[in-house]
Amino acid sequence: MKTSLVLTSALALALSAHVASGSESHAQHGDGVPASGEHAHHQHRAHPPQAADEHADHQQEQARDRRVPTDKPTESERAHVPPDPPQTTLAPISMERMVELMQMEDDAPFGMLLFDRLEWRDLDDVDAQAWEFTAWYGNDYDKLWLKTEGERVESQEEGHIKLAWDRIFARWWSVQSGVRHDFREGPSRNWLDFGVRGLAPYFFEIDAAISFGDQGRTAARFSGEYEMLITQRLILQPELELNWYGKDDPQNGVGSGLADLELGVRLRYELLREFAPYVGVLWERKFGRTADLALHHGEDDSEVVFVAGVRAWF
């Protein structure tokens, strides 16, 4: 109570100072108001102590054309009553406690499960299923990513799974560092994986990564996607995917160099934003040593595949 009285009188002094000094608003000091010179001085400091405000250097004394002060207090000046000082104040509290009281956590983690592709594929003589699934959890800056994609043909699964730390580093881009595990017909391969993910100009969604495996193996991967709105819910999505390997891995049907390319287009209808059935067509082409290996095994080095599936997220 005592404190608040002191504060009240300080405030009253400060206010009387500013009303009194109103008529000499260009004064840089309060000399004309002896009773409250100290307060007046505070008011007219050109550069009072700054908070850690990023724009401190922006503050300019601008010689703009200011309003001409009148001799008399304005009607609003007479009517305005500043608030009394608070009778109680919060003791200094931690940011955590403040967040708890406010229930306003601007750095809270959140997560997403995305089945970007869950599809049935019409191969030449057999059916196949394919998936591309992402789960992530984290705050605006850092997220833990789990991503897997692959294809299942006659109970034989081929694909990879990746666990990565995703960190945003530029307006539209994040880096991903993690580990990747490939499972194929031959021995599985493990890699350290470094990638960049983001939105390129013209809204191309890009995901590119290089991988380093055992025995000096290297691999690189690039995918790009684009979305064209036919209507607000009917969306055409072309995509391109490329794979490159540094070393032959014949047991897994992989040759060094550019191994394969997939060009696809999917047309989805967003019944809900979260749930969209689609149909699509893919053209897959193998190159170089990888193509040779495929031909050697009696497979085609290029094929056209029709797909149908759903895209869903939570």
């Binding site: 908070a51 703009r64 304005t74 305005h80 509290i93 956590e105 959140f110 307006r171 100009p201 013209y202």
Partner: protein, 592 residues
């Protein structure tokens, strides 16, 4: 209805009556579901002692029953009628399981009465009661709302009308509060995380291949491709006007959905004062009453020199008092369409209840232009034709605030913190004029209000020249749904420090493509013209995309205050700062 605490206080002067005939009608129409909030007619509480009980209750605005946050069983909360000069006491009890709070928006009150948990006080815990008590030294139209998480979105908002001692400056025969809001059946927590995952989720007005072909026919291939290239380079979408749309929202007028037609009755020839309040969480409305001129007489509770318009934009948390004089024996539609034209709130002024007038069609969805993006791509006057194009290093440009001379734009500088990965856009230059009514309203064929039309009666509350200037940029990342000042979220920034008694200038620069209503608690924001002359006193200042706006503040309110964007999800995402007002040299409270 339980008002046990109130009935035990006989001194309480409390009147309850139907706010309007329309509300009564709606009650009849909705009586099949007695649980809804509207089954209790909108009440008015007046006097000096109030008991407000915050609770949860099933409500039904859309045909689906949801749980709303109610005050005394109502959404909107009861209208509080005060008298200038009175000291009011409000005992606010929290009957919910989570912490709550009430903030008196636009009221100049002591810091511990301001109602912001974590800043003003600890909030009102579950089962607790907080007694707000302050002297009312102002008059006009204001409102109150929760300042806890998304409770404002789920219903905790209500109007405040303070009668002027000695009578209103502008006579009226009758008055109505017209409180606009946005109701959603979706859990706001879910909306928030949805925006974090897919920020364009609620935008069903994006440009399609069909729009491309139509533009080619209209403007030619070259110009259309160039337009798409510019937006594509920026990775921005010209249809991003607001984050949550009519897809999720049912827009309400005094708590009444459009189909149920809130109605205010008038007698022909009366002067009717409409006290518009935008009590929405996340919506900006363009308001008009086809057939009637709107004479704006107050803004944010502050009397302005009357100005007659046909339409006005009311940003979240703003209030406008408007006088209309219906002369004909007919109904008039009060039409408040959302900024993205994805829906509207609607009501009726009529000589008798049960009438309705034609509802105008929604306007075409506006598209942002390059000048809204702070780029001078020839989309405005010839004086800008020589200005830099996109890609020019801003830092290399002139620093004079009025570098373009007669041009109403100014080049900008940006703080280093704005260059981080959570800021997706920096304007090259900003418009400085106050005469822009807002995105989609320029040249729409109607006389639309702008801040340049508003002149507060009685001048500023402080004639002193501001002693210093704080420039803050409104920043964000649309896709990541991160919002901030100067590229720093609340959790990443220190409080702003104001010295007690100082007069300072805050300059806001909007580096985003969205319109942000910025609200400083505890102190008035006295908006200045580009020349620095006093224009209008506001508690919430609407900042258009790529606009630079300045206002003077007298730091006469000792204590800690909130300062934030009043779009609720922007605030929750980080577009919030604390302001501390303390005698010079004694700062240092706040969080650690």
């Amino acid at each position: 209805m339980k008002f046990d605490s109130q009935s035990s206080r006989p001194q309480l002067s409390r009147r309850r009556f139907l706010a309007s005939a329309g509300a009564g009608l709606f009650v009849v129409g909705a009586s099949r579901n007695l649980s809804i909030a509207q089954s209790a007619p909108q009440s008015v509480l007046s006097g000096t002692n109030f008991n407000l009980e915050i609770g949860e209750m099933p409500v039904n605005f859309t045909g689906n029953t949801r749980v709303g946050t109610v005050v005394n069983g109502q959404i909107p909360a009861p209208l509080l009628r005060w008298r200038e000069g009175d000291t009011v006491t409000l005992r606010v009890s929290n009957r919910m399981s989570m912490r709550s709070s009430i903030h008196w928006h636009g009221l100049i009150v002591p810091a511990d009465m301001d109602g912001v948990p974590g800043v003003s006080f600890e909030g009102i815990p579950s089962g607790g009661t907080y007694v707000y008590r302050f002297k009312v030294n102002q008059y006009g139209t204001y409102w109150y709302h929760a300042h806890s998480r998304f409770q404002e979105q789920t219903g905790l908002y209500g109007p405040i009308v303070i009668e002027r001692r000695g009578g209103e400056r502008q006579h009226s025969d009758r008055e109505y509060v017209v409180m606009l809001s946005d109701w959603t059946d979706t859990d706001p927590e879910r909306i928030f995380t949805t925006l974090k995952k897919q920020s364009e989720y609620f935008n069903f007005g994006k440009r399609t291949i069909g729009d491309f072909l139509a533009d080619v026919r209209k403007h030619g291939l070259g110009q259309t491709v160039a337009d798409r290239r510019m937006w594509g380079q920026m990775r921005m979408n010209p249809t991003d006007l607001i984050d949550v749309s009519g897809f999720a929202y049912t827009y309400l007028m005094n708590g009444v959905a459009p189909a149920n037609n809130w109605t205010g009755v008038f007698n022909r020839g009366e002067r009717v004062r409409l006290r518009f309040i935008n009590g929405s969480a996340m919506s900006i409305f363009d308001v008009r009453i086809p057939g009637l001129k709107l004479t704006v007489v107050a803004a944010d509770g502050q009397d302005v020199e009357p100005v007659t318009v046909e339409e006005f934009r009311i940003a979240t948390a703003e209030t406008y008092d408007v006088i209309v004089e219906p002369k004909d024996d007919r109904a008039y539609t009060i039409f408040a369409q959302s900024i993205d034209r994805s829906g509207y709130a609607r009501g009726t002024l009529a000589p008798r209840s049960g009438m309705a007038a034609e509802i105008p069609p929604l306007d075409l969805r506006p598209l942002l232009t390059m000048s809204d993006m702070g780029m001078s791509h020839g989309s405005h006057g010839a004086s800008d034709a020589t200005a830099h194009r996109s890609g020019v290093d801003h830092a290399a440009m002139g620093h004079g605030p009025m570098g373009h001379g007669t041009s109403a734009t100014t080049p900008l500088r940006h703080a280093p913190t704005e260059h981080g990965p959570t800021v997706d856009m920096l304007a090259d230059e900003a418009s400085t004029g106050l005469n822009h009514p807002g995105v989609g309203l320029r040249d729409n064929g109607r006389r639309v209000l702008s801040y340049a039309d508003l002149h507060t009666v009685g001048g500023p509350i402080d004639r002193r020249e501001p002693g210093r200037e704080i420039e803050l940029h409104l920043t964000g990342h649309m896709e990541r749904f991160v919002w901030s000042f100067d590229g720093r979220k609340f959790s990443e920034a220190e409080p702003l420090q104001f010295s007690l008694g100082e007069r300072l200038r805050i300059t806001l620069v909007n580096d985003t493509m969205m319109t942000h209503p910025i609200h400083l608690h505890g102190m008035w924001s006295e908006v200045e013209t580009p020349k620095g002359e006093f224009q209008v006193r506001k508690h919430t200042v609407m900042v258009n995309p790529a606009q630079r706006i300045s206002y003077a503040v007298t730091a006469d309110a000792i204590g800690r205050w909130a300062y934030h964007c009043h779009l609720l999800y922007h605030m929750e995402a980080g577009m919030f700062r604390e302001v501390e007002v303390a005698p010079a040299g004694s700062h240092g409270g706040g969080h650690t």
